[in-house]
Symmetry: C2
Subunit: 452 residues, 2 copies
């Protein structure tokens, strides 16, 4: 069997997992892969911190050039992270003739095209299964397994930290702050959790998955992002009473330019757009109520999940650990093997999105998105309030689906929860603007989208 | 872009789906695949039956030799089914230098090794994503995405007909017979549903998936198979009262020869086996109670699902349509593309199980399997009955976890449901043998395994 040299750059959590997998049972890996993987270098600026894995001293280095200049290294793993040094590093590795494996979603989401271009120029490949949903082989599913489909929708729980926090809040009734603290204590959330709880990390992953799924150029700026910071425990309780569970979802949808005609002939594009049928992308990340018992609602804790709809296959659903040393390493080592046996290169040369054949679809402004809504108002407990709220909504063509108002005990102000039928985001924004100015409205208004 | 010739043999439901996908939008497929797929022949003995898809007359043939002898056909799809003609056909196609794509689980489960051998001899490949769980890319997940893992368990709902029948029974309270009739009316069950409801089809799929997951040689005879024929609606009702849902599961597990030692040194194999830690496979198909709300319990209707446990990744879970023209075609066309761009050949040459590097692990006899059990007895309503039942179970080292006995109205005989803690199948068999002979037992005993 052939021997393929591997270099790992970045000896943090993920890098350690990769090294552990490569060293723990090389014979089994060789058997499974059909080639021998030889770990030749492990590079990090800090080589003294204990990682709990025995690496021969000769493999350790703090100089990336040792990997770049070693012709026996055919596959290089980048687990440094970030969008500057890591990107330059990957370009140098590619230029030196190495296939690159990375989990760096930020780099791929922000500077993917130039990285892919560098790989094409060098005649090499970049693989990134671990960049989205860690251990779930979702990149392969979209890229290989579902390749015959026109994918029309992709809905994902893509951040383990956020899903852990929301699961905690749902199951224990804890506040956002306490749940975040619990996540940090367990190591599920970083000391600075901003990128996770802001929805930014989920946005990076959606950029990658939606691009691949829809074969489209996706700019990070095109994704509407709302995080979970400060989600109120009361909304989770009211949602539960209505039969819903709160999740931070990434939603990507594409409406295709399918030949569309009515009895009276072809429907003009302007009207199609109104009907939601003109070709466009819709890309958004936001807290979302999903029906209790539905597949996405059953995904708990740090698990991730992706629901994919293809025109031929219908719905397929993927669940698994969305973070962690070994789940992430599982996907990285799979990519190493893919590169080692020459499959990654074939994939990279052929698959549309990787090869740079990307569609440019207009992105639907978020105000044009149609959805159902959960709205919570704090209002004075007095006659005519509900009529006023419903009146404003009605004037903006927003139809009420349900109302939840408990009897008030002593309080002057009471919460009123209204769910709507399908409505246009822009109409809801305008209606809420108007309601905010009503004298009986005494607190901030909460708007949470419902999955439809 | 390269043009790759494709021949489809078998113009039934699945073949029609493949033809439909290949012809509906070739430009999109070319874009996605990075090569042009040219459908050159569609072969069937019946060319007159309308299929609802427009195939140019020149492509239709009733002679497989036209495909075998056309050097421009590089990928051949076999959707004929069966384990004799289809196997000979695949061998001839391989010998003629064509990569083969098939959904034929029976042929793969019964004659897989000789087919793979024929492919190796010819220097070609066989791809079979559609053979298990139709539209779910589970073969790719096990073979590529999870390749770095030692897979320890695989649990699947692999037959859409059975899952539809059990879902019907659970949700409507209908009998087995009425639910089967409903499945037949909707086209979910064949006129002769024997292969589905007997568990045989699920066994075929388990043979393939377990072989691939565990890298092991799996003989169909090694799989214990019990179907759903005659499942009683009352057991589904009692199960629901206890918090369980009935599913036909395929269960594959492997206990590895992990270095195993205690304070007193290495544990001898005989004792390991007793402790369930000696290397062995456990392979079985049977109706199984799974906890309501757990992932497998949420899989309804004709959907399929597979839960895979890997030592690095942990649990990953895959759900999707397990049957049907277009979901099956989705996987077949993915395989055609894999073969067309040369990836299938690389996979076939390297992946352990495909390349013929297979472990031979002893299979644990079903009587040695440990599980929890749901037991239903019909007994005379008289003092001391429960004590007698529990006494026999206790003497066989079977510990009772719960008892369900409703007050009897008029009937002389009443049902008593007992769930057990973990017990050895052989002990349960012996205990039931003894209980069957008790004078107060007036009807057949039902034994259903519970997922643990």
């Amino acid at each position: 069997m052939k021997t393929i040299g591997v270099g790992v750059i970045g000896f943090g959590t993920v890098g350690t997992g990769v090294v552990r997998l490569l060293l723990e049972d090389p014979a089994r890996l060789e058997e499974a892969a059909g080639c021998r993987l030889e770990l030749r270098h492990v590079c990090d600026i800090d080589l003294t911190r204990p990682r709990g894995v025995a690496v021969p001293q000769a493999l350790l280095t703090d100089k990336v050039d040792r990997i770049i200049n070693d012709p026996a290294v055919q596959v290089a793993v980048e687990t440094v992270g970030g969008t500057t040094f890591a990107v330059d590093l990957m370009k140098r590795l590619l230029a030196a003739g190495k296939d690159v494996v990375t989990a760096n979603k930020a780099a791929l989401a922000k500077r993917g095209p130039e990285l892919f271009e560098a790989a094409r120029k060098a005649g090499r490949s970049i693989s990134f299964e671990a960049s989205c949903a860690a251990g779930i082989p979702i990149i392969r599913a979209l890229r290989d397994g579902l390749v015959a489909n026109r994918i029309t929708a992709l809905t994902g729980i893509l951040n383990g930290t956020c899903n852990y926090i929301l699961t905690q809040m749902s199951t224990t009734g804890a506040s956002y702050e306490d749940s975040l603290a619990a996540a940090q204590k367990l190591g599920y959330a970083e000391a600075d959790p901003a990128l996770d709880v802001s929805g930014g990390d989920t946005g990076h992953k959606l950029a990658i998955l939606a691009g691949l799924a829809f074969g489209a150029e996706v700019n990070l700026d095109d994704i509407y992002v709302e995080g979970i910071v400060g989600v109120d425990a009361s909304d989770i309780v009211y949602g539960a009473q209505l039969g819903y569970v709160l999740k931070l979802l990434a939603v990507g949808r594409v409406a295709e330019a399918v030949p569309f005609s009515s009895d009276k002939g072809a429907v003009p594009i302007s009207q199609q757009r109104e009907m939601g049928t003109a070709p466009h992308l819709s890309l958004r990340v936001h807290p979302t109520f999903v029906a209790a018992g539905s597949p996405l609602a059953t995904v708990l804790g740090v698990d991730n999940a992706v629901l994919v709809t293809g025109h031929a296959v219908g719905d397929t659903f993927y669940v698994g650990p969305g973070a962690g040393e070994m789940p992430t390493a599982s996907s990285i080592v799979a990519d190493i093997i893919d590169a080692a046996i020459g499959r990654a290169k074939i994939t990279f040369d052929h698959a549309a999105w990787l090869a740079g054949r990307r569609r440019r679809l207009p992105v639907l402004p978020v105000q044009e998105v149609r959805s159902r809504y959960y709205l919570r108002f704090v209002v004075l407990d007095m006659p005519g309030v509900l009529a006023s709220l419903a009146g404003v909504l009605g004037r903006h063509e927003i139809s009420v689906a349900s109302v939840l108002q408990h009897e008030s005990k002593r309080a002057e102000s009471v919460p009123v929860v209204i769910t709507t039928h399908m409505a246009r985001e822009g109409d809801v924004t305008a209606a809420l603007e108007e309601i905010r100015r009503l004298p009986m409205v005494t607190g901030p208004i909460v708007r949470i989208r419902m999955l439809t």
